[in-house]
Structures are given as C-alpha cells and as structure tokens.
Amino acid sequence: MGNYSWLLPVQASSFAARIDLGLWIIHAAMILIFVLWTIFFAYLLVAYRQRDGHKAERIHIDHWKSLAPDAAVLFFELSVVALYVIPTWSSLKMSLPDEKDSIVVNIVAEQFNWNVHYPGPDGKFGKRSAALIDFSNPLGIDPTDPAGADDFVTVNDMHFPVGKPVLARLSSKDVIHSFFIPAFRIKQDAVPGMVVPLWFEPTLEGDYEVTCAQLCGVGHAIMRADVKVQSRTDYDRWFASMAPVKKAGPSGATEEW
C-alpha cells in the first residue's frame, strides 16, 4: 500500500516524473483558470443582479476583445504541446531502446491473464504459432525450434531488474486488453492481430501491479498481475531459477488456473 497515495502513485519508472510534471502543470493551470474565472463569474452575478433602480445596459463590448481568452487558451495549449507534449511523446512512443541493452519480453494478454514470455538464457525467442496453443503451452511456442528450448513463460507474475530498460512486445490472443502499470505511468492497448512495442525503465525496487484498462469481458476486474522490480542480483537469481518450458506446464503460474 505504501506505493499508492491519495493522489498519484509512487514514481517507479524513468519517465514517471516527466509525466507527473505534465499532470501537475496542467492541473495547476486548470485550477488557476477555473478560480480566476469563477471569481469573475461570481462578481458578475452579484454586480448585475436584478434590483430596484438597476437597469440592464445595452452595452456593446468590443467583440475582438472577447477573442483574447480564446487566444490565451490556444497559446497556452500550443506552448504546452510544442515544449512538453510532442518532445515527451516522441521519446516515449516513437523511439525504442536498443534491444542489446534491454530486457526483451513478449507480453501476451488473454482473458484474463498476462503471459510474459522470457527468451531464456540464450536471449532468443522461440517461434510461436496459434495452432500450437493448448493448456500446457499457452503461447504456442514451437517445441522444434531450438531457440525456444530455454524460453519460459510466467503468468500474472513479471520480474524486472531495476535500472535497465524493458522492451516489451505487446499482443493479445483474444480481445483487446490494455497493459497499465500505474506506478510506471505506462499504458498501452494489447490488440489481437497486432504486436505493439512498448518500453519502460523501472527505477525503484518494489512490488507493483499491472491492471487491465480496457474492458475485456467478465473477468476484467480480476485481470491483474504482479510486477516485481528487483535488484540486479535478485533478478538474475530468479531468472536462473526459472525452468524452461519443455513439455511441462508453464512455471511461475500462480493463480487463476
């Protein structure tokens, strides 16, 4: 519970602070605009209320002056867009970290689980095919592909080392899900038929939660997963301990089965 507060959750990824900066700037501006505006509104209501001896005036305020708030709003919005939004968006969504320097995983959503496909010690993913999917092989990893021999899959339990970018290829087996880790400020829809790349860099050790942000069926509310951000050594130990998927079932499966 320590990770969550009355306002935003703890900042546990490298760009959480940048997103929060935007949230605070915009909310501060919103509140400022709203307060100033409400004061003016309240003044008008009091000053021009109907009363004895007061008559409405047919004043014609200079119409162009009324465009000043519009211009101010547009100026504010476009400055935020140019100085903050587009640069940040580009670095978050339009460029990806180098695969060599990252933890690369496939995240495959299904009703109502998050499967994480780790490449195993060889760093290579085995081929996957929808035709091979069955109860013991939820991602349909090809058993004849040597690259897949040491792959392992966790369900609703993902581990990442602190301070190293994670490059996740997000997809879905059935319907649209949305991968959301509030503490990382990261969210991306997992769309069947598409593989969407996604990256984040955990910066704070601890236990966090993945939630599904897109209605995906009856179990939408219970579609969650644990994210454990560990120190480098703890992560390596965990990684080594994971048995590769051979013919046996996926290890690390914790619940929902």
């Binding site: 021009y48 047919r58 059935d174 509310a221």
Partner: protein, 576 residues
C-alpha cells in the same frame, strides 16, 4: 379538448400525431423514462462499486439470479448494465431529449413555422425511435442477456460476447430515426422560416439544432456502416474486425481472419466524437435562450457564437482519433489529432466566453431556469478543463481509460447537457402547458442536483488520478484501488441523493401540468417567436403567419418603453 374545428380521434391526436408539439412531448416523456431507467442501472452498479459483494438494497431481490445471485450483482450483470447505461443515456436519453423533444417542440415555433417540413416523417422518426429503445431494453430478456461490451462495443469482444446482435439491430433503428429527424430539421430551417426570419435573425437555439442536424446526418452513417459490418461478423461469420490467429479460451476462433480490429474504433469514433457535440450544442442553444431572456440584454457575440458552433461541427469530424492514442495506432498520427483537439477547444472557449460576457451590464433575474443555465457555465468549464490532460497525448498515457475519463465526460454531459436540458424544461414548460412549474420545488431540485452531481463526479477525478481503471466490476480486486474506496462510497451516496432530488422534479412536472400557476403566453417577457403564439400553441401554431422585423435578442432597446422588443413587432412603441 376539441376547441378547434377539425375533430381528431384520440389516437390521431396523442399517439400517431403528426403535430410537432405532440411528437416533441412524446419524445420528452419517453426520453425522461429512459434517463430514469439508465440512472437506476447506474445506482445498482454504484452500489456494487462502493460496497462490493453486498446485497443491493431494494433492487437486489427483484433482479433475476443470472444477474444478481442472492441479491449481489454479478460481473455479467455489471457488464450488461454498464453497456446499457452508456447506450441508453446517450442514444435513448440525452440526444432524443435535446434534439427530439426540444428541437421538435421549440424550433418550428421559434422560426415561425406551422409545423415541420415533413410532419409524417417526423412522426415516423419517433415511431422508429421507440421500438428501437424497447428492443434495446428487451435485450435483457434474450438468451445470453444484453450487450456487455461497453457502449463502444469494441470487437473482437463484442463479436464473441453474447447479447450484441440485438444491440446492433436496435442501433440501426435509432440511427434511422436520427437520420429522418435530421433531414427534417435541416429542410424545416432552410425552407419554412416565417417572412423576415433570415438565417441571421434566427435564435441561437435554432442555430444549434440546425448545426446539430448536420452532424447527425453526416456522422451517423459511418456508425451505421460499422454496425452493419459488425452484425455481419456476428451473423454471417465474416471477419471484418476479426484478425488472424484469434484464440479464445484456448480454442482457435472460427473466423477466416484478415480483419482489422482498429478499423472499428476509427469508424465508431468518427461518429461518436461528433456525437459529443450533438449532446452539448442543443443545451448550449437552450441556455443561450435562457440567459438572453433573464439578463434583459442582447447576447454578447451572437454571430461569433454561430460561427463557433459551425466550426465546432466542422472540426468535430477531425478529432476522432484522440480517443485512440493508446490503441496501437501509429504514434505519429497521434500528433495530428493532438493538434486538432487543441484547436477545437478554441470555439468551445469562445462559446463559454460569450455567454459569460453576456452577463456584463445585465439585470440578472435568478429564475429557476436561469439557475440551471448559470450552473451550466462553471460545470461545463470543469468538463472542458478536465478534457485538457486527456487530449494531450503524454498525460493521456496515464489517464486514459481511468475514472478520470468518466469524471470528465460526465461533467460535460450531466452537469452540462442535462442541467441545460432541465433548464429548458423549466423555461418552456409555460409554453407547453400554459402553466408555470413551482419555483420553490424547482430550486430544491436545482441545488440538490448540482451538489449531488459534484459529489458523484469529483471523487471520480480523484480515483482517476490514483490510476483506477474504469469498468471494473469490483475495484477492490486490485491492490492499488483500495486507497480510493472511500471515494466510491462518497460517489454512491451522492448518486442516491441525486435520485432523491429528482422526486421534487417529477412531482413538480406532473403536478404543475394540472395545478401550476396559470400564466399568459409570454411569462418571461421574451422576444423570440415562440412566445408570440398562445400557450399551448394550437395546431398550426400561429393564427396568422408572423412577420419578423429584427434579430432575436432585442432586450432593453433604447427606443422602446418596455425592456423587450419582440421580433414580430413592427415598430418600437414610444421613444424615451
């Protein structure tokens, strides 16, 4: 009741009537009933959100076991009600009330027309809407229950879930009804204005209906196409929205594949974003009328407001994908929609600014409709402002699909549109029935509603910032939501209060119909043509076709001894 020569049977007069006023009232009553049904659904859902796993009071025992086993709402029931709440409120509640009811009743008399251009088509559009609505509700009784994929109905979920076929069929009814209505509105405004009523002399309410009709006409067909394609995916097993390699519950789906999942979202939002402006523009028109009447001065920036509405309508077709920043759509495309979204906020700000500045120099009468109109301004302001972090791609990463979104659009639609529509009811009630609604009850209704609405919606913004996803059947199933639980309780209690505060309104509405204070045809001393005809207006509205001599808001005219100068009066009486 038959003070006029031509005798009509009861059926012709009240059920299959071709009179725009009767049709307007039919729409009004029907849409209020749907609003009440949709609101009851959300009360049941809110109970589950605040007190998960407990027996729902009153309704728990009435719901079937498939819905609420042992009186506790189940996830299937929750998802069905969630989808139906959204659908009912938007397509069966607010739009028919704003366009069908007020547009039908008020717009023809405001432009001095005897009726709509096509009275029979007008009747038809109501009689297509009503079966569509009943079909929608009846889907609860179908095997598999009602639609349960949200009001957005995203495939593949909506294609594999039960209940969606009836939803799609009923949408086809509702879309047809809207198309008939919008053609009728446009032709009426263009071809049936009283002599002298040039377009630039039309009241803003008529402008808002005119602009809205264009949005409906052009935005609904893409949804119709999307509905047809989805229906064929469900019924004919085509695969427009079904991609290759789908595996549902461990089984390969029986679809050929090759479809595009995001295509549906593009088609849906191409309608559904303009639809937001269908929800908001008519209430904007209504409150413009109320504010002009109760400030006793011309509205500030009449033409600016008309141009703002037109540019909103035009721009609304270019912003749809801001609902899809995180859908997997190309991030470069997002930048385009980010910019258009920022630009469309400008005309909205302009509308709000004009209405605020209209208060300057006024003599404000705080009548009940005026209270509703005034509360619209700051509350719609919150709705608009909270749209900002959602429209910016970067902050949307965090806030998208959280409760913040729900708070945002309910601020726009509930404290905005709905309050404006309530104001319209109080404003035009004397025209509809020749009697006024009770002021005291009206004020109780107003203050109760506005406080309760904020009590419902403010907590949503907070739990949204905490990162709580929307559409969760049980928020406490996830750790990070636990801290926000008291907010759900507050929201639910406010929702119950909001329901209670509608009782004075319902009582007031029906009681005033028969026992309200009798008033003359122009109780608010307003200038537009709707106040020139008797209350209620007879068949054909005007005994003699009115002639229009000036713009709509000539209040406090210096050459006139009274503070209002009707559009239809040829000369100002008595100089000062």
């Amino acid at each position: 009741m038959s003070e006029h020569g031509h005798e009509l049977s009861f059926t012709e007069k009240y059920i299959f009537s071709v009179d725009h006023k009767v049709i307007g009232l039919q729409y009004m009553i029907t849409s209020f009933i749907f609003l009440l049904i949709g609101f009851t659904m959300i009360l049941i859902m809110r109970w589950q959100l605040a007190f998960p796993g407990t027996v729902i009071p009153i309704f728990g025992k009435l719901l079937p076991a498939t819905f609420a086993p042992g009186g506790i709402l189940g996830p299937t029931g929750y998802n069905q009600m969630g989808a139906m709440h959204g659908t009912i409120m938007v397509f069966l509640g607010i739009v028919p009330l704003a366009v069908g009811a007020f547009g039908n009743y008020v717009m023809p008399i405001q432009i001095g027309a005897p009726d709509m251009a096509f009275p029979r088509m007008n009747m038809l559009s109501y009689w297509v809407y009503l079966p569509g609505g009943i079909l929608m509700l009846s889907s609860f009784l179908m095997p598999g229950g009602a639609a349960q994929s949200g009001w957005t109905s995203y495939p593949p979920l909506s294609v594999i879930n039960p209940g969606q076929t009836v939803w799609l069929l009923s949408m086809v009814f509702l879309i047809t009804s809207s198309l008939l209505g919008s053609m009728n509105f446009i032709v009426t405004v263009l071809n049936l204005r009283a002599p002298g009523m040039t377009l630039w002399r039309m009241p803003l309410f008529c402008w808002s209906q005119f602009v809205t009709a264009f949005i409906l006409l052009l935005a609904f067909p893409p949804l119709e196409a999307a509905a047809i394609l989805q229906l064929s995916d469900r019924v004919l097993h085509t695969s427009f929205f079904m991609p290759d390699g789908l595996v549902v519950a461990g089984q390969a789906a029986q679809y050929a594949g090759g479809g595009a999942v995001l295509l549906y979202q593009h088609l849906f939002w191409f309608l559904a974003h303009p639809e937001v402006y269908v929800l908001i523009l008519p209430p904007f028109g209504i409150i413009s009328e109320i504010i002009a009447t109760n400030t006793r001065k011309p509205l500030f920036g009449y033409k600016e407001m008309v141009y703002a509405m037109m540019s909103i309508a035009a721009m609304s077709f270019l912003v749809w994908a801001h609902h899809m920043f995180l859908s997997g759509m190309s991030p470069a495309l997002s930048n385009f929609f980010l910019i258009t979204t920022m630009i469309i906020s400008v005309p909205s700000v302009a509308l709000l600014t004009c209405l605020i500045l209209s208060l300057k120099g006024a003599s404000i009468r705080f009548t009940t409709p005026m209270l509703f109109a005034l509360s619209f301004l700051p509350m719609f302001g919150i709705g608009g402002l909270t749209g900002l972090p959602l429209g910016l791609t970067v902050t949307d990463i965090y806030l998208h699909d959280t409760y913040y979104v729900i708070g945002h659009f309910h601020y726009v639609v509930v404290t905005g549109s709905l309050m404006g529509l309530f104001g319209g009811v109080y404003h035009w009630f004397p025209k509809m029935f020749g009697r006024k609604m009770d002021d005291c009850l009206g004020k109780i209704h107003f203050w109760g509603s506005v406080i309760a609405m904020n009590g419902i919606l403010m907590p949503m913004l907070v739990i949204g910032l905490q990162g709580q996803s929307r559409r969760l059947f049980d928020p406490t199933a996830q750790l990070h939501n636990l801290i926000g639980q008291p907010m759900h309780v507050l929201s639910t209690i406010s929702a119950i209060a909001l329901m209670l505060f509608q009782i004075p309104f319902i009582y007031n509405f029906f009681n005033s119909m028969f026992r309200g204070e009798l008033v003359d045809s122009n109780p608010w001393k307003a200038t537009t043509l709707d106040w020139d005809c008797p209350s209620p207006p007879p068949h054909g509205n005007f005994a003699k076709v009115p002639r229009v001599y000036r713009g709509p808001y000539e209040y406090s005219h210096p050459d006139h001894n009274e503070d209002w100068l009707p559009q239809s009066r040829e000369h100002a009486e008595a100089a000062r």
